[in-house]
Symmetry: C2
Subunit: 334 residues, 2 copies
């Protein structure tokens, strides 16, 4: 088997991790890395997280890097918005390069951008590449994993997924992302301008309904702060009782007039028992739980790299803008 040639597109913390991981895989070869940040261009990817160099320098010119290295697939980690990344996807597709992206909206891009999805699907087919959105959440614990759990079922009446994350044990950016240490008033102000909360819950809900063939009457979503009941301390932050400890993001699919899918995500400092749990009201009944939960940050880098092998495989026979439901079995690649 020839090694898969990988380009890293976007070199934030997850992108650097993904690039390192791709470079270490036997079946892959990291051939290029691109970012727009002048402070990163020209440096070895490995320097960006203070680790060992990996022999690939950051380029600021994606088109030139594509022409020069002809990658099979890009690991794409730049933005949460499908619309915002569409020109990047187009550039990659036209160069014959499949894309596995952490862009949350790409988990189910048609939900918010039907016309753009159709246009990029057509482009991907004609360029014989796969465009795929994935990750840990969205991408695995609250959607793909729940779908796989339904495979042994006769009938499923209802799907519930709970995710509990102790933000206190995670990186500072995650603690900030969930609003740890801010006031409830500040939380509500950020919420009003959509500057806080998890991105991707509606997309997870849409993927679940699509995968199960359930008609969607409505997708609903709510966001509330989790308020600290006592003073809390993390490695980075102090949180007083009454301040925000994190987020509670929930959502549901209404189908046939009733709630058939519900997702409940709580990420906050001091969460006593982190886990991911899928409960199906089904025959046979299913109750499956990841003890300790699946940590998101670096696992997202792993999902991108692991799914890159699947995207390249699917591109050979069934190119297009594809969903996780259309990938061959997700798993570790060697």
């Amino acid at each position: 088997m020839p090694r898969i040639k990988v380009l890293q597109f976007g070199l934030g913390p997850i992108g650097v991790r993904a690039a390192r991981l791709a470079a270490a895989k036997q079946g892959m070869k990291l051939v290029a890395a691109v970012d727009v940040d002048p402070a990163k261009i020209g440096r070895d990817v490995g320097e960006l997280d203070g680790g060992a160099p990996i022999g690939v320098k950051v380029s600021g010119d994606a088109a030139a890097a594509l022409r020069k290295t002809r990658p099979d697939v890009a690991l794409h980690t730049t933005s949460s918005s499908f619309k915002a990344v569409a020109p990047q996807l187009e550039l990659l597709a036209r160069a014959g390069c499949s894309v596995v992206s952490s862009t949350e909206e790409m988990l189910f891009p048609a939900l918010k951008n039907r016309a753009l999805t159709a246009r990029l699907d057509k482009l991907a087919r004609s360029c014989k590449v796969v465009l795929l959105g994935t990750g840990v959440n969205p991408g695995f614990v609250m959607d793909t994993m729940a779908l796989v759990a339904t495979a042994v079922c006769y009938e499923v009446r209802r799907v519930s997924v709970d995710r509990r994350v102790d933000a206190g044990t995670r990186r500072l950016p995650l603690q900030k992302k969930v609003g740890a240490g801010i006031s409830v008033a500040e939380f509500n102000e950020r919420k009003a301008r959509r500057a806080i909360g998890h991105v991707g819950l509606p997309e997870s809900l849409a993927l679940l309904a699509h995968g199960l063939g359930w008609k969607v009457d409505a997708i609903e979503e709510e966001l509330q702060p989790v308020v600290a009941q006592r003073d809390l301390q993390t490695q980075y932050l102090e949180i007083k009782a009454g301040q925000v400890a994190g987020i509670h993001n929930s959502g549901r699919v209404i189908s046939g007039g009733r709630e058939r899918i519900s997702l409940d995500l709580q990420m906050y400092v001091g969460c006593p028992e982190p886990y991911d749990r899928v409960v199906l009201d089904s025959d046979p009944p299913i109750d499956v739980k990841f003890a300790g939960g699946v940590a998101g940050d670096w696992a997202t880098a792993a999902m991108l790299v692991n799914l890159a092998a699947r995207a390249v495989e699917v591109a050979a026979t069934n190119p297009g803008l594809r969903l996780m439901t259309e990938m061959t079995l997700p798993r570790l690649v060697g």
Copy 2:
């Protein structure tokens, strides 16, 4: 979407269940059912388990049924042996009918029959059909599910899967299959002539190693009786202390000189806590558990029906004798 036309091949208890389920699915149409048993031929499939008729009569002539009904896919439930079912697979493939089979050896047919696997793969490609082996175990809890759990991992050093089944709550045939109520001497005699135990553990091990890209030095398997420590009583059987309560079947993959995969299956009357559990020595670490376990019998019928939709999908772009790793995402079909 046109409905998938389904043929049921083999009408034991699981086959009848699978046929009923296919007949009830919106996206499927049960068009034919075949069995060799003269006592079943000519009767409505639904009569065979004493339930309501479903409007499809059992035929004894598979070739005629195929010609007349032109099914897209067969749910195949006849034997555990790949070699034994090969002529049936060939007949189905030549009629342009994909096959999803409960034949345990078909989960990884090359393990015991490399040449036959290559021959049937070639045939399936030329006939543009998929031939697939699946089920709950083998097929899901000890292999496919464990592979999916690795998707979020950077690195996996070791895979362990434990399955615990309380045979006391299951059908009489399963209690008999695990030797409940026989003597240890009788167990050993049956073991010597391979007439007791679970079929498929080596195939699950081979699928796991293949899916992870791990080189197999050796696959090892062991079978021991679980001996009743006290008198036990099921709905059907009485088991005295010292008699066999069930089986303990374990196996492992040696790779690179060390044990990298281990499967441990215990099915016995009186098992106190049934569950299925996958533990990965990995980054991030994974510990995922199905509370109560996934009951095998009827869930196997569900797996066959659910995977039939995937097999038909894959046949359109990538026909051949295929493995679970090559299917699009396993999940409930509507």
